[in-house]
Amino acid sequence: MRTPLRPLARILQARQDGLNPDSIEKENLRIRHEALREKARGRAQFRLVILCASFVVAFGAIGARMGLMAATEPMEPRASAPGAEIIAQRADITDRNGRVLATNMTTHALYAHPKVMVDPKGSAEKLAEIFPELDAKALARRFTDGRSFVWVRKVLSPEQMQQVHEIGDPGLLFGPREMRLYPNGALAAHVLGGTSFGAEGVHSAEVIGVAGIEKALDARLRDPAQGGKPLALSIDLTLQSTMEEVLSAGMGMLNAKGAAAILMDARTGEILALASFPTFDPNDRPSPLVDKNAEPGDSPLFNRAVQGVYELGSTFKIFAAAQAMELGLVSPETMVDANAPMQWGKHKIKEFEGKNYGPLLSVSDVIAKSSNVGTAHIALMIGPLRQQAFLKSLGFFDPTPLELVEAPGAKPLIPKKWPEIVTITTSYGHGMSASPMHLAAAYAAIANGGVMIKPTLLKKDGPTTGVRVMSEKTAHEAVAMLRRVVTEGTASLGDVPGYEVAGKTGTADKPKKSGGYYKDKVVNTFASVFPASNPQYVLIVTLDEPQDDTLSETRRTAGWTAVPVAAEIIRRVAPLMGLRPKLEPPAMDAVTAASN
């Protein structure tokens, strides 16, 4: 009810008392204003409280949610529909045609909670029955010594898992495991390498690469952004299998300690097949040798094609010849001094079995007959500096850029100083060591018309570009020389009708650890390109300590060991690549060839 400002009773009373009635009005007005102000303040206060409360509630809700989120186990978003990208799996590895080389399988690991086990000793005995490699007593001790968690086995087969289920002990538990599987067994083992478990938990374990391409490209294979997209290698499973079959048969026949072969596309640098023997099964990777005296090459894990750094012998001669032709110092028909033995300072350079191809030999014949003295004279024309530069441009001074974890470690062994005697020995492949992969890359440069390409294990689309190291003309002439090695030189067993094999043999004595060379231990290499009229492929075959006893005498030259093996590989592999055998073009008229 509204109070009047001038209540009549009080006004009249005031008038009677002679007071100013206006003061009553003012007082009443003041009271009214105060009441109004009081009301407004109350309302503002109420609003503030509400506002505060809503802020408290809102921030409290956010805080509580945050706390809840932080405290709970992470969860996949449930509402979104995930595609293939969420499978956090290691990507498969396939060959160039999509055939699986490495894939994953889900299995289980076995662990135990001894504290909840009903019969630890009995279970330990039954487990030892299922898994022969477990020791029942040791296992029982681990189950009863008071620990609350024991790993029993990393990987189980479904049958073994069923058998463990049948023990029926509640303390035996299974954790899911992703296992790397190489369905082809030992095939391409040195390329693939192998995997093992990294950080292990009960619910999952990390699969990490330990060697080969599995380790070199570990990040790519595990990258979730790739969405499990398979990694396509340049390897062709069929070629790989064929090459391994022939190579291992050849190695057995020639009693070799080891063997390696590389088949490479000369234009793109793709490795189509890469084999090294002895080999191993990446599903069950052997442990590395621990014996300090053991040579690394004794282990089957050793990749001879990439890690094996050998003196590659006469296969180097073609580089001296090619460089001399490139520099315009000689032509294939130029006669060079080949009078053996050659005396250089206190060193005597001899030919194989003390022969003498001299006094003069054409450059082409120097290669065909594999004359050390002829090559030495060509190398001296080139000189140490230019020779070094050329070999460097062919990649002989650096590790190969191959996508294997072993590749960067395989540094070629290069002489520290480079006097002229080193120029001479290097020209025929002695005193300097490189891996067969280096040789393959360098021969690819000759085969593809003079462009140095990077050897790779990854499938490529289209041709690759590289640095030109020699002119196309030189490369063609070098291939023609290599062809002559097969048609009329040291590699006559390497001729495969229709495929125009061109190549160079190399036989190098194995260096002793204590210095000097073994008399009866050699490394034989045959580096070949085919078909000679349009070279497309490079094949390197290396045999470690082979000997051919089929005839009355023991032979250890590459022409009798590595060459027939390489020829058989080409005969088997070339049709698989769809390469048609062809009739060779008739030899060019000698007069025409010499006219330019």
Binding site: A79, R99, V100, M105, L181, P183, N184, L237, T242, R572
Partner: protein, 118 residues
């Protein structure tokens, strides 16, 4: 007038509440279904990868090689050789098609009676 508005808004509130309640449960059911489907997809993917591995394992080159050797009598397969490439000239021309045999003339006669019991 105001009372009607109150009643209407109250009814609307109840209707919305009911709708939200149903949507909530429908969403949960859908999520559960998605989860079940995802589990199924994962299971199938796993099965698929196992099958792929199995296929690769069964088709590994050394097994195929052994099988072709073991079944040489039936298959007669040998490694591919350079001599197996042919030339276009070696391909035989398709045989000339013979005209279809048709009986343009009427054949007259009697059909033998079918024997009993056949």
């Amino acid at each position: 007038m105001r009372a009607v508005l109150y009643v209407l808004s109250f009814l609307g509130l109840i209707a919305l509440g009911f709708w939200a309640y149903r949507e909530n449960y429908a969403t949960q059911a859908a999520l559960k279904e998605v989860e079940a489907l995802q589990r199924q997809i994962v299971g199938l993917r796993e099965a698929l990868s196992v099958q792929r591995a199995e296929w690769a394992y069964l088709n590994r080159p050394d097994r195929l090689r052994d099988l072709t050797t073991a079944n040489f009598d039936r298959l007669g397969l040998l490694p591919m050789e350079p001599s197996q490439f042919g030339t276009a000239a070696q391909v035989v021309y398709p045989r000339a098609k013979l005209p279809e045999i048709s009986f343009s003339t009427d054949i007259q006669g009697t059909l033998a009676e079918p024997e009993e019991g056949l």
